[in-house]
Amino acid sequence: MQNPAIEYDYTVAKWFSYLAILFGIIGMGIGVWIAFELAFPELNYVAGQYSLFSRLRPIHTNTVAFGFTLSGIFATWYYVGQRVLKVSMAESKFLMAVGKLHFWLYFIGALLAVGSLLLRYTTSKEYAQFEWPFDIVVVLIWVLWGISIFGLIGIRREKTLYISLWYYIATFLGVAMLYLFNNMEVPTYLITGMGDPFHSVSMYAGTNDAMVQWWYGHNAVAFVFTVPIIAMIYYYLPKESGQPVYSYKLSLLSFWGLMFVYLWAGGHHLIYSTVPDWMQTMGSVFSVILILPSWGSALNMLLTMKGEWGQLKENPLIKFMVLASTFYMLSTLEGPIQSIKSVNALAHFTDWIPGHVHDGTLGWVGFMIIAAIMHMAPRFYKREIYSKKLLEMQFWLQTTGIVLYFSSMWIAGITQGMMWRAVDQYGNLAYSFIDTVTVLHPYYTLRGIGGLFYFIGLFMWAYNFYKTMTASKAIEKEPQFASPMAA
């Protein structure tokens, strides 16, 4: 505005985009591998202890959640943040340095943390496996991100914070609170002078530990897989389609609704466990209420496309985003159904749960990050997207993959749940565990194939991105709305 020579600086956004692609491929590659291990158990032993399912599963979950997804979140923050605040990172040397430091600390920290899991260092708390030294690194990374967020807000030109920023800020605050409380632990070596220096024990025990863990676990879903992804869609879908958000007021209302309701719903992970009954009921009730703010955001997105549905046919990025919000609606309908006590009695411990998880993560989180990064690519490199056709193929291949994934897991999960509880006329269990394994085998294979489709799609994405960066036709001017693409 004042100084026409200044432009938005995408350096850090670019770096995090590369990481998102890298961690996506590593994390989901391991995912496909362990899916096939479940179908063909011999695969467990190809690399001794390092290829065991139990060793690889936490690496899969941590890499996709805190590698792929977080990189996507940071990449989009460093892009969207500047744009909606109308201030460039180039205007502050300090913020630029913080951004770069944030990136390097995150990258090195992530590699070390994944290495530690491979070497068996784990707290054994799901999604919070990293041992205490890595927790300290995580806190530092988070503080740097916080400085970057509030620093940029401090030098902004736009007075009002766009709705996406509310969601990024909520992600920052929510994860900070959850992570700190759930990872309260005592490093045993420092206290006793004995044992492994990396080892620690949780400060909570028994049922309390379970409650804190799932308050965290559930809200990790909220503040890593939902809130920042909504931040993205509120920016990228309107921008790519050229349509303002259907209702800004609805976006504010859904924001507060989501913030309030999510934090109470974690009890649905502990139904029929030792936590107090009223707490289970509360988790269940709040989960059902959670449909409202969730669908509020999702419908707001779909209605943003009102009268512009032609774009869905023309533009593969719109396809990715519209399907993402559709999958968001699916998982936020499915989740509340699974939270109902009688349904959970059947669904808990079965493959229906990973079925639900992957509607959300592959359909909603994955598609949104893929679309966001491809939207940014032409702006990063001032070149058009290398191939629209490849993007279309990726879309259909990955969509087929997700459908194979969730349909096989729905059938497998419900079959499994029914077989576990089936009894004969005298009340004896009708099946032994191995009977269920035999029946489930084809579905496990199908799930592996679905995952493989999605995984192949990631390589199409990476290739398309790389070609956009290096070999695509240059454009003179940053595109305003729809991203330009070569056929």
Partner: protein, 68 residues
């Protein structure tokens, strides 16, 4: 009084209270638009018109002038 009853009543009370807050917020949003205090929908433009050179929907300076 039985602790469970207290919990139950407190729980119900809380829900009713929060429902009021939520509806209050909706009313607040629509009221301030009707009175012309704010136009929320114009903020949607922030995502669409986000060049470094484009004028802010609500510039910061305006704010400081107002408060002076």
């Amino acid at each position: 009084m039985d602790i469970r009853l207290i919990q139950g009543v407190a729980y119900l009370g809380l829900i009713i209270f929060l429902t009021f807050i939520l509806y209050g917020y909706i009313i607040h949003l629509y009221r301030s638009e009707k009175k012309g205090k704010r136009n929320y929908e114009k903020y949607g433009k922030m995502a669409l018109d986000d060049e470094l050179t484009s004028p802010p929907v609500e510039p910061l300076e305006e704010h400081t002038k107002e408060s002076r």
